[in-house]
């Protein structure tokens, strides 16, 4: 990077682009696997310079307020125009045009998206962007979700909060994913950001109900509190009654999601809170809410659009037991419902109660409900508008067939395994996949766990569903071939990359040779995220991927026969990527060191297999490398060695 520095100019742009100045790659990845909604811009933008709201009124700075020099006018006009650019990708491109655009963009960027919290220092980010209203921060590599990253690795939010606080007093929204946040850090939010409105924590850890209480009490303008798949390790006797801490007057709450906070809570307080939150549209409760309690909540919030139903089981309280028809009347009264989830301990007898809303549902999440085909088919038959469906494999191929027959508008399907072990029975197979491909032609995203698969079914899906953007197939038994032909799954995945021309995310599994990766490299030109496990024969696989997948940003590899040669074949591409993760392959310390030495803007972290092990070993069990302007981080634990 040889942009000349001068004291008057802003720091070098964050290099999203390759060294050869190819067009910048967007850093946002809306197809990221999470339950969270894509981040939204705050609606309260005001023009830079403090001018009037909406519209296109240039703020006349300088002089007596009536006239500005021509080049300043241009800049002001530019800023006003750039307000309309919201996608980070577009903004990155705009910032590269020239210094003037760079400055204008930096002042008007409202959402700061940091895909890797270690890629840039907080100080540098706040110095560049002056008018940020929303921050999205992502921390640990995704494989941390599968226990592959030892505890204490990092991704602490504290240096970020320390920088954001003084820099952005008007900050309204924070989204964190896979970061460690303590209660004390949560306490900084109401203190630093008096206008704070939205907090979203996805797959985070380190906090407790005490922190939630502080947020509830301190953020008087809170609209969104979304807690999704976070890790709570609280003992029941330490739990704080956080729900009672919301303001006693009417609140601005629009969304309250806490199904992962699976400790008992004060239900009366929740009921009262819902009653005084007229704007509430999304409510997802935890499994400590019975059907009877759910009915109370629904009665208080008849305009809900998204409902997480809690346990969906009857727990007779003082009010007696609700019948199915009584519950059905509650649903019938909730005319705005479009998204249902929860069913965390479902009693299938109550399922018919949701029939009144099924026709309007666009999203249905049964992925925590162990339902059979018989139980689900009558429900699905009503769900003609479904676009998103998450389910457990207990429904079997038969259940999926019913989905295929009814849900012709389906865009996203996720089939999770009840028994997530390698040698489980697996209740869905290629038959279900084939049926889905025939019935759901508009499918864009699929995640499918199974034990039996064929190339034919995958090929069929590639042909029937050309709009696929995300294809994630997990054949749970390792190295499983086509169950009928006994051949590797190369042809199936090859067909996917060949026929699905919009594909940006791919996860492969089953028995795969280098040939599969030759296909991926040849045809997967738009792939941004690729996950490989127990696959390939040789380093050629990695070479195919690096050389062919020109848009690759995130590559995760595990337990595959790739070594230093494969690693080094990526040398010319690492700066184009956000990160590369590789564990349990055949890397050596020397190979990783070579990479580290040749690439100064890359942070190369290696981890031992067992954190307690002392001493050096030649082999590297875990490699995590990522481009970074911040250099090696100073908060790495002892089991992380930064080369």
């Amino acid at each position: 990077m040889s942009t000349p520095r001068s004291s008057a100019s802003s720091p070098d742009p964050i290099p999203h682009k390759s060294v050869t100045l190819a067009p910048s790659l967007g850093m946002r990845d809306p197809e990221e696997d999470s339950d969270s909604t894509p981040s939204r811009m705050s609606e309260d933008d005001d023009c830079s310079g403090g001018g009037g709201g909406g519209g296109w009124t240039p703020d006349l700075r300088g002089g007596g307020g009536r006239w500005a020099p021509p080049d300043q006018v241009l800049e002001i006009v530019l800023e006003s125009v750039l307000e309309f650019l919201t996608a980070a990708r577009d903004r990155n491109a705009a910032s590269l045009v020239c210094r003037s655009w760079y400055r204008a963009e930096a002042q008007t960027r409202r959402e700061l998206f940091i895909g890797n919290c270690y890629a840039v220092s907080p100080r540098r980010a706040v110095e560049r962007f002056g008018g940020v209203r929303a921050v999205v921060l992502k921390g640990k590599p995704r494989f941390a979700d599968f226990s592959l990253v030892p505890h204490g690795w990092g991704a602490y939010v504290s240096p970020w909060f320390a920088a954001l606080g003084p820099a952005y007093p008007r900050l309204e929204r924070i989204c964190l994913k896979r970061m460690t946040v303590s209660d004390d850090e949560l306490a900084l939010i109401p203190r630093s950001f008096p206008l704070f409105k939205e907090l979203s924590l996805v797959c985070c850890d380190g906090f407790s109900t005490r922190g939630l209480a502080i947020i509830a009490e301190g953020c008087r303008h809170l609209r969104v509190l979304d807690l999704t798949e976070d890790y709570f390790h609280e003992e029941e006797n330490e739990v704080v009654d956080w729900i009672s801490k919301f303001p006693e007057s009417n609140t601005s709450l629009e969304s309250l999601v806490f199904d992962c906070v699976s400790v008992p809570f004060n239900f009366e307080a929740l009921e009262a809170l819902v009653a005084r939150s007229p704007a509430l549209r999304r409510l997802r409760v935890n499994d400590h809410v019975s059907i009877e309690q759910l009915r109370c909540l629904m009665a208080r919030a008849p305009r809900l659009t998204h409902l997480g139903t809690g346990s969906f089981r009857s727990e007779p309280g003082s009010g007696g037991t609700s019948s199915v028809s009584e519950l059905a009347t509650s649903f019938a009264a909730s005319r705005s419902l479009v998204c249902l989830s929860g069913f965390l301990d479902v009693n299938a007898e109550y399922l018919p109660a949701i029939y009144p809303v099924c026709a309007n549902l666009t999203s249905l999440n049964f992925s925590f409900a162990s339902l059979t085909a018989e139980e689900i088919i009558p429900v699905i038959n009503h769900c003609v508008s479904l676009r998103t469906f998450w389910v457990l494999d207990t429904v079997g191929d038969e259940g999926l067939r019913a989905v295929a027959e009814t849900c012709s508008d389906l865009r996203e399907l996720r089939v999770f395994p009840l028994d997530a072990t390698e040698d489980s029975e697996g209740s869905v197979s290629d038959i279900g996949l084939q049926a889905i491909s025939e019935g759901c032609r508009k499918l864009e995203s699929i995640l499918y766990f199974c034990q039996r698969m064929t190339n034919a079914a995958v090929i069929a899906m590639s042909e029937n569903c050309p709009n696929l953007v995300v294809f994630r197939l997990c054949i749970m038994g390792r190295h499983r071939p086509d169950r009928i032909t006994g051949e590797p799954m190369d042809e199936g995945f090859g067909a996917i990359v060949m026929n699905c021309k919009k594909l940006t995310r791919l996860s492969v599994s089953g028995l795969l040779t280098d040939k599969a990766f030759a296909y991926i490299g040849k045809y997967g030109k738009l792939i941004k995220t690729l996950s490989i496990a127990f696959a390939g024969n040789s380093d050629m696989s990695l070479q195919h991927v690096f050389e062919g997948c020109t848009r690759l940003q995130k590559l995760e590899v595990r337990d595959s026969p790739f070594g230093d040669k494969g690693l080094l074949s990526g040398m010319n591409y690492f700066y184009n990527m956000r990160f590369f993760w590789m564990n349990s392959c055949r890397l050596t310390a020397k190979g990783c060191r070579d990479v580290a030495q040749q690439m100064p803007n890359l942070v190369v972290e290696v981890m031992k297999e067992h954190p307690e092990d002392e001493g050096e070993t030649d082999t590297v069990d875990k490699l995590y490398l990522y481009r970074s302007l911040a250099g090696p981080r100073n908060d790495a634990p002892s089991f992380v060695n930064i080369l």
Partner: protein
């Protein structure tokens, strides 16, 4: 192999020939589910060898055509988030409890309460199956069921051979009992077998030579 690798041989390597880095050694990880320790060969000899870091499984895995030998679970595989895993564990415990409660009803399936599912692996088959031992009353019934189950996989396609499984011609059926010993199927009374059998494995007779002492002797010595 690297000298630093002192892990028990039952933590098996995945991956194809070449040697070098270790595969996931799941047993030491804080992986919440139970670890399936499957021995590569149920012979006395291998018991001693289990300390070596290069188990027979690697040789099996060396040939891409052959499926991998039984192995320990890999950490974080299948890739299901721990949040979901925990929720499912709670669910399946509840389901099991419900199933058992139902089976205690007299109207339940003939043959008594509960079920006795065990995994059955066959050398050469790409994946495992499960059988409920309570569904059968004799070794012969079991043998016929196994024959049906694995007929698609048998290399020779010769279904007749399977019937002789118990008597040990081309293939032999072995089982792992509660003590973790591998025994030949057929030695003990059926009920005792069902009570003590944890896992079944169908292997080539040639590989079963030197199997642990026959069951009768084992129990004799114990008492």
């Amino acid at each position: 192999m690297a000298g630093a690798d002192v892990d028990v041989g039952t933590e098996l390597r995945l991956g194809l020939p070449g040697g070098g880095a270790e595969a996931a050694k799941a047993a030491k990880r804080g992986y919440e589910d139970t670890i399936d320790l499957k021995l590569t060969l149920p012979t006395g000899g291998v018991q001693k060898d289990s300390g070596k870091p290069e188990p027979a499984a690697e040789k099996a895995a060396a040939d891409p055509e052959k499926p991998p030998a039984p192995k320990a679970q890999a950490v974080g595989w299948p890739p299901v988030r721990s949040y979901r895993r925990n929720a499912m564990t709670v669910q399946s415990v509840k389901i099991k409890k419900e199933e058992e409660a139902e089976k205690e009803q007299p109207a339940a399936t003939a043959g008594g309460n509960g079920s006795a599912f065990v995994k059955v692996s066959m050398d050469g088959a790409p994946y495992l199956r499960k059988v409920d031992l309570k569904m059968y009353n004799t070794y012969k019934d079991l043998s016929i069921a196994l024959q049906k189950m694995f007929s698609t996989f048998s290399a020779t396609g010769n279904e007749g051979k399977m019937v002789e499984a118990v008597n040990g011609s081309d293939v032999v059926t072995t089982y792992e009992d509660k003590d973790g010993d591998w025994m030949l199927v057929g030695d003990v009374p059926w009920e005792m077998f069902v009570a003590s059998c944890k896992r079944l494995r169908i292997m080539k007779s040639s590989e079963a030579i030197g199997l642990a002492p026959r069951a009768k002797d084992k129990y004799k010595n114990k008492s």
